[in-house]
Symmetry: C2
Subunit: 258 residues, 2 copies
């Protein structure tokens, strides 16, 4: 007899490269009966789930047709009750602008035990993957992660304070508001303040544009960058080192010397 034990695990899928998921996430996927994944989760990760598990795309991305959050919440609970372990696989980390807590809360309120396996957020990894440290001794003492666009389309208010600080600013979902963001920061940090825009930071086809607040809007390659991308503003951008990342495996650098 099949005794269903409903449960939900929110799992962070990491910033894109399927190897940037945790061992715990892989173990969790092994025990999935249903995987609900979004647009930012690498679909190669679905192979960690049993072939018998249901794998359902519930992605949302700005400007695309989206299923509503309430519908996803109901799917989680419905599948948990009928199938067992629902893994909610979300790009990056479920708790960094991921609305993961809303899903966990809803499931718990419906009596479903719910758990969380953190993932690597693009907010904290993509700059480093491009050779830019989020923090460097003597240069800055903090970093501030902000969503560029609020639900009502306005610019996040914290951006005004962020501009005044010495923090490295990491802006997610800000590309559409780039001109407004640059204008705001120009007033506080000046046109020489360096800035980076990074798309697909952990993947083969990553794209990193380095400029300044004064120069970015006229950068000839700006139109080659597409969302989702992160914007990094701060003096640490000047510390950028060249780093090869995506081709590591091809070049065999992880091969051990013998």
């Amino acid at each position: 007899m099949n005794h269903i034990q409903p449960k939900l695990t929110l799992v962070g899928a990491g910033p894109g490269d399927p190897d940037l998921i945790t061992l715990k996430a892989v173990k969790t996927l092994h025990s999935a009966d249903v995987v609900l994944y979004d647009a930012l989760a690498n679909t190669a990760l679905l192979d960690h789930a049993p072939s018998s598990a249901l794998k359902i795309y519930v992605g949302k991305r700005a400007g695309q047709h989206s299923q509503q959050q309430q519908e996803i919440n109901k799917m989680i609970v419905g599948y948990a009750k009928t199938m067992g372990h629902v893994v909610r696989l979300k790009g990056g980390d479920p708790y960094v602008f991921g609305r993961g807590h809303e899903e966990l809360e809803y499931a718990q309120q419906q009596g479903i035990p719910a758990f969380y396996v953190p993932g690597i957020s693009s907010a904290t990894s993509v700059a480093g993957l491009a050779g830019i440290p989020l923090t460097k001794r003597g240069i800055n003492e903090s970093f501030w992660v902000i969503t560029g666009t609020l639900k009502d389309g306005s610019l996040a208010k914290d951006l005004h304070l962020a501009a005044q600080s010495s923090a490295t600013i990491v802006i997610l979902m800000g590309l559409k508001k780039l001109d407004q963001i640059v204008h705001l920061f120009l007033g506080q940090r000046g046109k020489e303040e360096p800035l980076a825009i990074i798309q697909n930071g952990s993947l083969d086809h990553s794209n990193c544009l380095i400029s300044t607040l004064g120069g970015i809007m006229d950068a000839p390659t700006l139109n080659e960058i597409a969302a989702p991308a992160i914007i990094v503003i701060g003096k640490v951008v000047n510390e950028k080192r060249e780093m090869v990342y995506s081709k590591l495996d091809e070049q065999g650098i992880f091969e051990r010397n013998v």
Copy 2:
């Protein structure tokens, strides 16, 4: 003949639980000739390196005897030249207050190819593991990660701006300055502002204290919290949900229904 190919990979070890390391980090450790690890990296992770690899503790922790950064830099280069692939295993993420970039820079300047594998920082995972979302729609639009203590022992200046914002504030290495930090935030956010202090967030013996700016200094269990711990200030603390984490495996919740 043994042809040495010197290289350095900075690897994030995650927030403590040895399962919260990435697949990429594990693959990197597989190819290590030397592992230099610090106090915050879980030593269980050393088992991913070959038994023949040298494993050397180079940990630094506030108040303990520490080897100097310059010495670590020289060890990296020396071992890379004589042994091959040096993996620098650092707790959390090497680029989040980890001084990873200084090591990478030094190695590159000495002609050693250097790479980076991000890890899960405690800054972005420990709150979630305690059931507290870093961000929640309608409550906040950003989070700010700050080191509590600067090299000269002073309070980070960005904390003054942080107090004025609506950001969730995550303070690392701030426990010793808790009274000063609380005093600073009280002036801007008031005594009802909730706060959490979390020690060993991803381990069995984790400890989470929930209070308010007005109440924390008199909390009877405050003296049970020891460094390293993170301080989280913001309204999201009120959204805390109960979550079981560390005992997941023992309870078999990752077992699949059959």
